[in-house]
Symmetry: C2
Subunit: 376 residues, 2 copies
């Protein structure tokens, strides 16, 4: 990171939910100061189930445990295998087993130390253990920091569909330590950038223009501390604002699915392996942008600006040629966001503003998907 800002910036983003408001703290070194946050939300001295995966735990497990013990918490650890394909009911079942063995009571706290996979499963286990215990999110991937850790969506995949099983369960606190991103694989950094660019397009023109102005976005070490801080705070704020206005995805929250409709189809058809979530979203945004242009909702120039930013972040812009366009169309019909058989799309109108299109003509959709097939 740059040495332009010797004092690390810190910020608190509030998620203003009527029932359970909570704070997202963003500060370098926060991992070692979790006890402060635990004190703030009245969690000192609790039983804690720390959930992580082997990679993240190896890097940060000891520090997290030390910080929790400094808050007088009794820590039990559960390590789940890494990867989207382990985001299953079976993995959550293992958390129940550990929770039972450790005799975790209603006052216990589950803590997710990891990316979105760990965050979603930990949140779901917390939502359903003893019909609900508290959860604290300590996201370690960029994607989890700006997206998965915020907003209370939790869950697992069904063998035949992503995130079909889950619950809404808001965290009691979210702690973001940007320093942990240093060990994040470059590809995962880029995947998170897809969601960041998404916030620029759907909500925050200023954020988008900061991204446009940057020399490079494809690797952390070329992003200075100021820009990183801007990225994290503005992305979290965007998500927090949308969620606060629509906790249960009745309306506005749907805009967060920009790029996700085709994205999910691509992810699922590639077996959650060759294309990761962020990459799929990048592909989906490019396709949705072109659909918007085709439907005369958006101008071609802004659509190109989006594509260039996505490319600058080192993200793919085409649907892998190995996929069958008709299978993608079929998968879109099976998507859980389908309303009465019609595919719903979030489409840009300006940079910073999108609209919801409820019944996109199937042939236009097909054209865009055919046009999106390619390499890279």
């Amino acid at each position: 990171m740059s040495d332009l800002s010797p004092v690390p910036a810190s910020a608190v983003v509030r998620v203003d939910l009527p029932q359970q408001p909570y704070s997202i703290a963003i500060a370098a070194g926060l991992l070692d100061r979790l006890s402060v946050q635990f004190q703030d939300v009245g969690l000192t001295g609790k039983q804690v189930l720390l959930v992580s995966n082997p990679v993240v735990f190896k890097h940060y497990g000891d520090r997290a445990i030390a910080a929790l013990e400094a808050a007088n918490c009794k820590v039990t650890t559960a390590i789940l295998p890494a990867g989207e394909r382990y985001k299953t009911l079976r993995s959550v079942s293992k958390l129940y087993d550990v929770a039972l063995k450790a005799r975790l009571e209603r006052s216990a706290v589950f803590l997710a130390l990891g990316g979105g996979v760990i965050g979603d499963m930990t949140g779901f286990a917390a939502a359903t253990w003893l019909r609900g215990v508290r959860v604290v999110q300590v996201p370690t991937s960029l994607l989890a920091m700006v997206d998965a850790a915020i907003g209370g969506k939790t869950g697992v995949n069904h063998p035949r569909g992503k995130n079909l099983i889950g619950a809404f369960h808001q965290p009691s606190a979210v702690a973001i330590d940007p320093d942990v991103l240093r060990t994040l694989p470059a590809r995962e950094w880029r995947a998170g950038m897809a969601e960041v660019i998404k916030y620029g397009i759907i909500w925050d023109r200023e954020l988008f223009e900061r991204l446009e102005a940057a020399e490079r976005l494809d690797r952390l070490r070329d992003v200075d501390a100021d820009l990183l801080h801007h990225i994290l705070t503005h992305s979290c704020r965007a998500k927090a604002e949308v969620v606060a206005k629509d906790e249960r995805e009745g309306g506005l929250r749907a805009i967060l699915n920009y790029g996700h409709t085709i994205g999910h189809a691509v992810e699922s058809l590639t077996g959650y392996r060759s294309v990761n979530h962020g990459e799929a979203v990048a592909i989906g945004m490019v396709a949705a942008g072109r659909l918007a242009v085709k439907l005369e909702l958006w101008n071609a120039e802004d659509c190109d600006r989006q594509t260039r930013s996505i490319e600058k972040a080192g993200l793919p812009t085409h649907i892998p040629l190995a996929l069958d366009p008709d299978e993608i169309l079929a998968a879109l019909q099976a998507d859980k966001k389908v309303k009465a058989g019609k595919v719903r799309f979030i489409l840009p109108q300006h940079i910073g503003a999108v609209t919801i299109a409820d019944s996109v003509p199937r042939d236009r959709l097909r054209e865009v998907i055919l046009g999106a097939m390619g390499n890279g």
Copy 2:
């Protein structure tokens, strides 16, 4: 049933929850008129996942489906094996599979046609499918009518503990047709009577006295239609009032666990087989009553009245001799209602009023358990 009341009585009990109030309709023949209720709550024309078990479905499945089709619903059926030992994540998983295959959308409704086992699993599946779809409860056992179907607790058992996995998810409507009780096995009728007697002790002295005045309580055919109607409406009202005052079991709702602390231990140690839920609760109420007398909270005479009513309902009053008292004590420590290692008991003070004792002395508890061992 008696022919004293040729016009079947009907009643509506309101569950006054601030977020999602709903109604419990109680009327003979209601099963065939589900479409009316579906219309009332705006569910006509929805996709419906009807969940039942083979026994109940054989008796009532066709009629329920006909009624739902009269409401223009598209019905998919899922039949799960009968019995508490199938109240598992695996069974719920099967519901997810059916839901996926039938492409159930967010607007779909899950409908539980069965006892508490079906009700709890259907409710949990509804709470977690696509992060929450609506559920309608059509309870067919006495226990489910007066207890399980009301109040939004849903869930499944962990192999090593009852109801450890679950969620709060209120139904959109509850439909009780007393006529279906005619096919309920006598032992299940008696099990439900345990919860009815519980409401008399914890909340409704009038209900208790009506039960006391009855000639017999141990089989449906000796209970006249008036008394049955009184039992159902007053029990539902008791539960509804308690739940409305405390949706998430923060305080008052704990009184519904009267008899359940020792009851759960007995159920779990007998492997959920030889003793059913209601029988375990009956045993637990007798033990809790004696504990209350020992602690000088309750008078011995009222405690005996409770015991006599339980006996009149043909329910057991002793802990099976096959169980080890020390294992029961150990199981109580593992109960999820344990707070900081202390066993919490609900204890009667009068007929119609209980109190919460937070730290019952272990030796008193042991005495009562030893004294409760016996046959029948």
